[in-house]
Symmetry: C2
Subunit: 359 residues, 2 copies
DNA sequence: TTGGGTTGTGTGTTCGTTAACACAAAAGTA
DNA sequence: TACTTTTGTGTTAACGAACACACAACCCAA
């Protein structure tokens, strides 16, 4: 075996097959006009030599210009979406050289009509691919069908919809993240007590993923035979403070033995604020997302742990995935679960300022 | 302002300056042979148009071949080093297209002479850059000086040496990781008790980083006024099992109230094994690294948390950094701390199989 | 003032791939 | 048989940057 590290080029193959590079190129791109026996021979040589097209040369010559549509909530509706967009933008910047541009369609995450409106506008143009956060499950379905018929690859990120089959889903395993929250709370408790689960706005945005987290959380306790802990559940449909405080007061009065709270989304700072105002500092709190308000309470030890849903990393990964498919013609996984990062006061810094993982 | 998204090329500049591309090229590469007034004019146009060389075209034509030497422990001495090498190899593979090759110099991490020997061989060849794990502080120093004089950029990874100034250090903040370990142990304890810190092999390999972790750990307790916990320290210089068991028996007999153990490196599986054999299942254990043995005890709940030093990520980051400098001529940070990943039974999967962050 | 050197400039080739084009030979149609 | 069309193949100009080379125009010394 020769130790020639030089990669095989299209010219090498042409020489081996005793044809011109034009013929090899026609075979590579299935453009026809090649005699069957010649084609077979070329394909054999390609396989034998393990020819890998030089993506650099390809990118240089390619006039092909991919445009990808991104349908996500407007970043002004929260730093979570801001981070997600940032992750996408970062990857987009490096991919511009390969002739890829990104167009954003931003909707109001509180209004399903806003989503539908933007999705409609988007669908009028002809994009090479689509990235979206399908937070409104019912509204997504017709568009997903539409795009499937038009053969436009689309990937979901951040929200998984069980029955739909996009090209790929990038996000976290919600069940497992609930399970993890169970562990983090259980580890900090010794004596039997009550544990409160809080869902914020389970009605407005689609609550499916909150329930999946709840299931994972509950199963942690049942699977580990931890009957000594009493699991309570509270749904906060109204973020209006007095209403919220009243609901919390109510729960804590009827259940004075609550020693931990699990909030199933990023609104955990509300609970932290409530507890610190009521001087309930021995109640452990676990929730989601590195929002500035959450980080504030994390630093004050009012929140014990946050599970990072890593919006920036999700954004990066989603775009990177599509680029791999469109530009580099790589096969891409149908499902990509990002790691469940555990954040506490002592390691938060590295996640807030560090760059998101880019694969 | 025109909406011409087309990037400026060397030809555009040549046209604007009414010279040929050859002249522009000579200006860009400071190869002289250009009239001063013409040069000035070209430089002005370059600035005005914000010309950015097309790295794709550059990579295609460039016969420049960078060779980077990697001086790390032999992967056969533990999966930690295996992962580190894997991370480097992974990035190396994608950078091969840009004309970058990597040569490995593997040494025995238990023998400083082995390091010196390999470093000597390495220094005979002329590399464009060097990546190394400086586990033997004293032995590194003369080489570092040598390379500095020869102007060979070199980066340290995994082990930080306080007084030396390599081009860059990639790794973790050991102090903070000790601090984090303190939090993870403290969070799981309620009543006053003793906590044992265990250093493995503090003599053979350089112990500086173990001590820094210890300091961070201790300071967690002092800074948070946790005098109710008694910190004990044990140094295991011999991994020979009977000796180790004897030492552990001794400590646990004289201190029956030990409820947690912090192991400052990846050898934590020894402690987990000991404790599960002695049925001391209520003792919390925190240590480092996702070694197969450690993961085994993590799944069995014998280890509560592992802090992931992410050797694969460190390897990737180190090579990526040098490539950014050599190939893409980007400025690179002098210090790159990787995040402190907290791993527990419930999120371990995502770290074991997932790819390391590549920036 | 002829030869040798330096300075300043432009041209041409190269990298690997793509795709338009040219052009035979074969096949189909009247 | 005399055409048109199809099929199969090779050639070549991009893409943007790098660099070797060609070659004037000038300077200086013998």
């Amino acid at each position: 075996m020769k130790e020639t590290n030089k990669p095989v080029t299209i010219t090498d193959i042409a020489a081996k097959a005793k044809v011109s590079i034009g013929t090899v190129d026609r075979v590579l791109h299935k453009r026809g006009r090649v005699a069957t026996d010649v084609e077979k021979n070329i394909l054999r040589i390609i396989k034998e030599t393990d020819y890998q097209p030089n993506i650099i040369a390809r990118a240089l010559v390619s006039k092909k210009h991919y445009t990808i549509a991104v349908l996500i909530p407007d970043p002004s509706f929260g730093s979570y979406w801001f981070d997600a967009k940032q992750g996408i933008e970062k990857v987009a910047k490096t991919l511009k050289k390969y002739g890829l541009t990104v167009k954003y369609y931003l909707f109001n995450p509180d209004k399903s009509e806003s989503f539908t409106e933007q999705a409609n506008v988007l669908s009028k143009n002809n994009y090479d691919a689509i990235i979206l956060t399908p937070i409104f499950h019912n509204e997504v379905s017709p568009f997903s069908e539409l795009w499937k018929k038009a053969e436009i690859p689309h990937v979901f990120f951040n929200n998984e919809i069980p029955d739909y089959q996009p090209l790929s889903y990038i996000g976290q395993d919600n069940y497992q993240s609930g399970h993890l929250a169970g562990k983090l709370i259980h580890y900090g408790l010794t004596s039997p007590c009550s544990i409160l689960m809080v869902h914020f706005n389970p009605k407005i945005t689609n609550a499916a993923h909150l329930e999946i987290k709840e299931k994972g959380f509950r199963n942690y306790f049942t699977q580990n035979n931890l009957q000594q802990f009493d699991l309570l559940k509270l749904e906060i449909s109204d973020e209006y403070k007095p209403t919220f405080i009243k609901q919390m007061d109510n729960v804590f009065q009827t259940n004075p033995n609550i020693k931990a709270v699990f909030v199933t989304n990023g609104k955990v700072y509300n609970v932290a604020e409530y507890l610190s105002q009521k001087y309930l500092s021995d109640v452990k709190v676990v929730g989601y997302d590195l929002l500035p308000q959450n980080l504030h309470y994390l630093k004050q030890n009012s929140i014990s742990f946050l599970i990072n849903q890593n919006p920036k990393g999700q954004g990066s990964a989603a775009l990177q995935l599509l680029a791999d498919r469109l530009i580099f013609q790589k096969p891409i996984p149908q499902l990509k679960y990002l790691p469940l990062d555990i954040i506490t006061k002592e390691n938060a810094n590295y996640f807030v300022h560090s760059d998101a993982p880019v694969i």
